[in-house]
Symmetry: C2
Subunit: 347 residues, 2 copies
Amino acid sequence: MAGQDRTRGNAPGGRERKPTMADVARHVGVSRALVSIVFRGAEGASEATRQRVLEGAAALGYRRDSLARGLRSNRTRNLGILFDLRRPFEVEFVEHTYPAVEKYGYHLLLGAVTPHRNQARVVEELLTYRCEGLIVLGPEPDGDRLESIADEVPLVEVGRGVTPGRVDVVRNDDALGTRQAVDHLVHLGHRAIAHIDGGTNPGARDRRAGYREAMTDHGLAHEIRVVAGGYTDEAGATAARQLLAEGLPTAVITANDQAVIGLLDVAVRAGLRIPEDLSVIGYDDSRFLRLPGIDLTSVRQDIPAMAELAVQAAVERIELPETEPRSVALPPQLVVRNTTKTPKNAE
Amino acid sequence: MAGQDRTRGNAPGGRERKPTMADVARHVGVSRALVSIVFRGAEGASEATRQRVLEGAAALGYRRDSLARGLRSNRTRNLGILFDLRRPFEVEFVEHTYPAVEKYGYHLLLGAVTPHRNQARVVEELLTYRCEGLIVLGPEPDGDRLESIADEVPLVEVGRGVTPGRVDVVRNDDALGTRQAVDHLVHLGHRAIAHIDGGTNPGARDRRAGYREAMTDHGLAHEIRVVAGGYTDEAGATAARQLLAEGLPTAVITANDQAVIGLLDVAVRAGLRIPEDLSVIGYDDSRFLRLPGIDLTSVRQDIPAMAELAVQAAVERIELPETEPRSVALPPQLVVRNTTKTPKNAE
DNA sequence: TCGAGCTACTAGCTCGATCTAGTTTTGGTA
DNA sequence: TACCAAAACTAGATCGAGCTAGTAGCTCGA
């Protein structure tokens, strides 16, 4: 028995060579093709053989090779998602993307944008893994041209649309969000309502516009006050310092929750009480963002619904390339907690 | 010229079939093998041809197929990392893992553990992508047996070692961390120092032990007070309520920063001032965790160094399977800010 | 007894890049 | 000019699973 020598290349790390379908087939006594049939769940195998194959595979510790599979079938069923690990909103979005992706029988590949890996770089990486579709959270408009990518693979932009053409866009109605915030504050009796904006961040332009329009509609055009901000606590802090220096409003709407941290940091150190001295409304209602002693009033985006829509759009575009891309904007909802209150000066 | 019909299978999503090395070779007028040589950076191609090939590839929009590559070479150079998207420490760790991984010429595949995807599931997924090594942040000890995985692929556990045998472990010296915290507080004059522990979370046992030992060494064995906690703000809040009900210490050391949020939440609502009424020390010094009006004293782990060591261990075990696994514990460092102060009752 | 119509199964080409074992070209030297 | 080694390049097998086209064996009806 000149033992069939299995001592092959055995690349680094290959402890014992992984078993293949051929190994399973030999072990069970059937053809390779049949093993393939069983693992694909295709028809053409009797129930008895199916069981024997599965048992044999389990005994050998066989695992289907996704590389070979993807190569031959020319499908990976991979969906890539680009996001920033530091943004609570995006992280929450990613978590809710998993169930949607599974529902359609795809796999989710995470592409993390970090200070050292920009969007273009991450896209390139995900395409190397042959993702069949990409979901981009908070796409960056300048420089990184996603247009050329959209030719290669279906693209879904979340938060805002930056790429003209064949791209799906899933976002929330940002203008409506800040409008709700203004409505609520005006209803409480506020007039001096400032907005710490989000600069060029995703959704920020519309949030700014919604604020402006709502103020105007309430006859408070002369009270409009937009302070340059951003989506970080530093930006919120800087804007807060500016407000303190130039004179406080009775209420502030920030462009996102993260900026609230900086705002509160400055406010607390300045001896202000929230909401007695200042009402505050954030945006995103981040679940992971807890502020000690404070329950933040914030505008909530329907993340699970958005995730589902984004995946659905990508899958649809993958499987029916001819259909037209859509753009949807879900209505957000103001969640009132206790950082908003009738202002002191109101009688 | 019966136009060579390129209208192949064109799976769903395949807009225009992706160009292959054969296409590039034909376009440039060389053999497939040579194109391969150029893209691998192997020697055996003249500088002139190398340029022509690269230009031709760029013109066609050619991208190397990682599936075919991995299949044939039996190497993917993928490293998988398991982590929890919600844990700031682990997220920060992941960010620092990228540069290390690149340095060794590998790719990082993120495996996110979420409430709906447990560790075992994520491991399975990463192995499907043929990761050659796995880095597990905060490995779960019970149930999910990683032992069997360690036979298939090199395993590095970060935070604590839970799997006996051929596994590398990279962690910080947790006992030393809480010891430093106790030392600092005792030095300030505290005696009634409580510890809100981390339950069964990674590192929590050693942090608890370090606290106990340090207290004993300072002759404060009778002051030892460990309250059941966890790594979440809820756990911190619950423990804080218990402390309030049973009588406050003058200082509290939590098992991680996240728990501090809950602790402060309860403390602030109870009208306590920090650090005047209560000194607080956290663990991890999370960069992304900012508390308004508060600069938290915390124990910092050297994340970049740990990430580098983890990757190095994985790569070493992949490329030199025979070397013995190691276990290292880096010294943490207490970062003193302003949540600690001499207690009021001290003269 | 034949063959039609099944089900259960198999042979062997294929996906795209890698890699071994060659072959041709080049350039330098006797 | 002849020769040789090195450099530049190529043919073709190969990785593991998927898939098409086909065969073997069975049942059933006429």
